[in-house]
Symmetry: C2
Subunit: 568 residues, 2 copies
């Protein structure tokens, strides 16, 4: 580009990536003219904060407006224009066509940065145009929802249990509404593994939210007094308000028409955010990126990567030879659900299966801090590692405390292409209120290394039927624990007695493999080592009954319920 | 070693590293005989939990006993012998000499693991043998202290303000004692940088603890009713109890006498924990390791590295060809002090200066989570990066929330030899209750990259006198902020007005360099960019007035106090 300034940089979209780009551009170049065109009324608003305003935790709508055009002009000499929608792009002429309420105008640029974001998906359902149905994408949406709440709405239906849907449902329930959350996928928070999502579902129910998973809305019937949401399974849900949050898709039609190359609707960019057109960059939810774990191409709609990409694109526009490449986002994400936190980084089981990557899955339930220190509670962890070498592929966690820390550490390790055994060596901060001498993340490394070198052999709760059919289940929990129920046909020997009772195991197994289990997988791993060294075909239940219950849901609870005739 | 089992592994020391080694050895080998010799009464006790028992947060002393010999026998078939002190080692004969209250006996081993830990340092001060003076290293120490507290002790003096000293002082103050904390070094928590330690000092004072830093105890005068601690500065402190926590030193005399090579009293080990004697390994506080950042050799007395080393040594004894090396510990550490957390990883300024490594220091004060979300509060960060390439060398943080997470992420990055700019690319979990779209750690990366490539030039609060003497100080805070005081001679122009008032700066500077400042370093960095591009010799105060106040302590407060005649 022409560096004999002054240069005009035009940014399309004044939230997250776009505004980061504009601000960084100014810090690099006082002489550039920097114009930010925002189709909405507000720039730099706190879109991730909207549900918390609806729920009342953020009291004032004004708090959501992180910046104003006036403040951005004063601090950074940015020319920020809300109410300016870009409706055309002439890359040849280096001009955009801008529509305002005063008509249309052309604006020339030297460098153009597209940050149009994503639009809420609106499925073709009858009745979605009801005035009681709205998305939660803008400050105006949030204000309108809060007004409905304050105006006496009593019943809410949230369609879609992704991050925003879960946050919206919690917010509405916190405001006292009878709230129902509907998710087409088999469980809430579809990117989360089923065994962790189950914990979130239980927590949402504890908050009084009715959860309907595995079914979708078929129709919204508008009445005089309220709407009725009709689900595919026949359920009819009366609703004074409906929040539609079934996903987003890149908002790129204008630019596609102008010749910007896209891939499944998302703008294709190179490692510096350049689009297919000269002088045009793009960032954020509207762009496609490559999953660094699976290699799959997909748009990532997250504020963090958008903000960072905006900054790096400004670097590339103004310092093309010194700019760092825009990193491929791992898709680390986090959500609060009542008293729980759920977070994830890297690839999940579905993504790994789709990509054909062979992996092992670890389940751990360590405490977030020393067990003897008040408030100790479990972090429920699921970690996937590459079978061939233990490369960390993805991690997820749910718990009341310490979840964000472990996922951030694991995201950092994945970014550095750590193998699971490398986690053993991490020097994480330990003192009783904060961790354990062997932190949850260190333990992941130890268990992972054991699994990979064969010291530990795991069986998976999802294979419980196969195990029940062909193996001896050996439950090594204490007598007190198994009084609440064991798997049908299980043999009970506390792990502390196993060494002296191996003959009982041999008789009961009668040549079948032995599948050991305990509450979390720690004691069964010790028992497995005893059995394996005594020559048994043995394996330890990954994650113990904690994981089994969560994987099997209601059925797991039933399988583990007390039976009148305790077997063996 | 002889692998035609059964093998006898003897472990000296039944806490942390020793017990980890024994437990891992059993999981690897059912046939081995594993004997743990512990000179004290308890094994596997929660030494890091002792101060919390003194303070009453941990109610029962029994909670501190994480394991008992009986439970270890039952679960892991370990032969754990408390009250067994090793007083001699004959490496030739592969025997240790063990003293119990029944006399002395010889015990043969195939493999010997030394985990003797460290002893409290007892400086040669008159009166330290008073019955009112004790260390806080064992369960018995903690029980005795708690009895003194429950028995009506009113005044406590804690000698030494390292981690244990700070925790002990907080515990005693929480129990209502008039508590004084004495530290010979210039500030509490000596490994922490002065500008962060100041925040801890302020917090301890808020808790009602009297802090005397920069002076040590000279004598303890024992009276009938109470003791008096006499400090070098003449202060006399009446005390019903005195906690001595001035450091620890490796407890290795017995093994040194037996020919185990040591370095400044700590056992020398190779990358698998092997000592200089065949068949003898060592782990934990008694061993010397190499600081992976500075290359300096020193013992590290931390539970985490000890536990992990114990496990890896068991691997090496039983699977010599498959064992991972014992990692060199970074020395990541954390302490709670009232409502604050202080944590550190890697090298500090002193260690870097001693090692002659050229570095830059970054100060940041970002919020731990979105500013618009309730409870937002600053994480005060100090990060050192290598001047030549930005390699992360060390990081420290103090704050009310989110400190442990940032230090663990930075420890993980340092372990992977990340450069500061790599932190820009970390995908950390963002949602308003947990972080910011640009997380505190991402911001460290951005500021670090700016400093290294010259986009940002910093001045350091420790150079304030030089700056006051030879530069124009430009304070770009708001009018409301500077009403509470500016540095003498400073020119005030809010950063939002700077572009239009550059001539004022030029006149006031009169050829001198311009040194910009604001509250945290964000606005002054923007102002610096404006000035630098306008041709000024400009630099931005690293960390702003927050850091300046903390670096200069009382003097910083005085320098920034309102003056009757506001300059210029």
């Amino acid at each position: 580009m022409n560096t004999s300034s002054p240069t005009r940089i035009v940014v399309v979209g004044g939230v997250a990536g776009g505004m980061s780009c504009a601000a960084r551009a100014r810090r690099l170049d006082e002489s550039a003219e920097i114009v930010v065109l925002e189709r909405g009324e507000h720039v730099s608003f706190a879109n991730c904060g909207l549900p918390y305003y609806v729920g009342g935790e953020i009291a004032e709508a004004g708090s959501l407006l992180v910046q104003t055009p006036e403040r951005l002009r004063a601090a950074l000499d940015l020319d920020v224009r809300p109410g300016h929608e870009v409706v055309g792009l002439d890359a040849e002429a280096r001009e955009v066509l801008v529509r305002t309420d005063r008509g249309e105008e052309r604006l020339a640029y030297d460098a153009l940065v597209l940050s149009p974001g994503a639009r809420a998906v609106r499925p073709p359902l009858p009745g979605l145009d009801s005035s009681r149905v709205r998305t939660l994408r803008t400050v105006d949406d949030a204000v309108a929802l809060r007004e409905q709440v304050d105006g006496g709405a009593r019943r809410a239906v949230v369609l879609g249990a992704g991050f925003i849907g879960v946050e919206a449902a919690e917010a509405l329930a916190a405001q006292g509404l009878d709230t129902t959350l509907v998710e087409l996928a088999p469980h809430v928070l579809p990117p989360l593994e089923a065994e962790l999502a189950w914990l979130v579902t239980e927590e949402l129910r504890r908050l009084g939210i009715a959860v309907h998973a595995g079914t979708g809305a078929q129709e919204v019937v508008t009445g005089a007094d309220h709407d009725v949401v009709v689900l595919a399974d026949g359920t009819r849900l009366a609703a004074d308000l409906v929040v539609l949050s079934v996903g987003v898709r890149p908002d790129t039609e204008v630019f596609e028409r102008a010749g910007v190359a896209t891939e499944r609707g998302a703008i294709v960019v190179d490692e510096h955010g350049r689009t297919s057109l000269p002088g045009v960059w793009a960032v954020g939810d509207a762009t496609v990126s490559t999953d660094p774990v699976t290699g799959v191409r997909r748009p990532v709609a997250l504020a963090g990567p958008a903000n960072r990409a905006g900054r790096l694109v400004a670097d590339h526009i103004l310092r093309p030879h010194a700019a760092r490449p825009v990193p491929q986002p791992l898709g680390t994400a986090i959500v609060r659900a009542g008293g729980l936190t759920a977070a994830m980084t890297g690839a999940n089981r579905g993504a790994l299966d789709d990509a054909g990557i062979a992996y092992r899955t670890l389940h751990l339930h360590p405490n977030q801090h020393a067990g003897y220190f008040p408030g100790a509670d479990q972090v429920h962890l699921v970690v996937h590692v590459r079978e061939e070498d233990g490369l960390l592929l993805g991690a997820q966690a749910v718990g009341t405390d310490g979840v964000d820390k472990r996922i951030d550490v694991l995201a950092t390790a994945i970014r550095h292409r750590a193998e699971v055994a490398d986690l053993i060596d991490l020097d994480l901060a330990y003192s009783p209120p904060y961790g354990q001498a062997k932190d949850a993340v260190n333990l992941v490394g130890m268990v992972g290394a054991n699994v990979l070198d064969g010291t530990l052999r795991l069986w998976d709760a999802r294979d419980v039927d196969e195990v029940l059919a062909g193996s001896l289940v050996l439950d090594v929990r204490s007598a007190g624990e198994v009084a609440t129920g064991m798997l049908p046909g299980a043999l009970h020997i506390p792990h502390t007695e196993l060494r002296g009772r191996l003959e009982e195991v041999r008789e009961a197994a009668a040549g079948r493999p032995v599948r050991v289990m305990c509450a979390s997988g720690v004691r069964s791993a010790i028992a497995h080592r005893v059995l394996a060294q005594a020559g048994f075909d043995s394996a330890s239940l990954s994650g113990g009954t904690s994981t089994l219950r969560a994987v099997l849901g209601e059925r797991g609870a039933a399988l583990l319920a007390p039976r009148v005739h305790q077997p063996a």
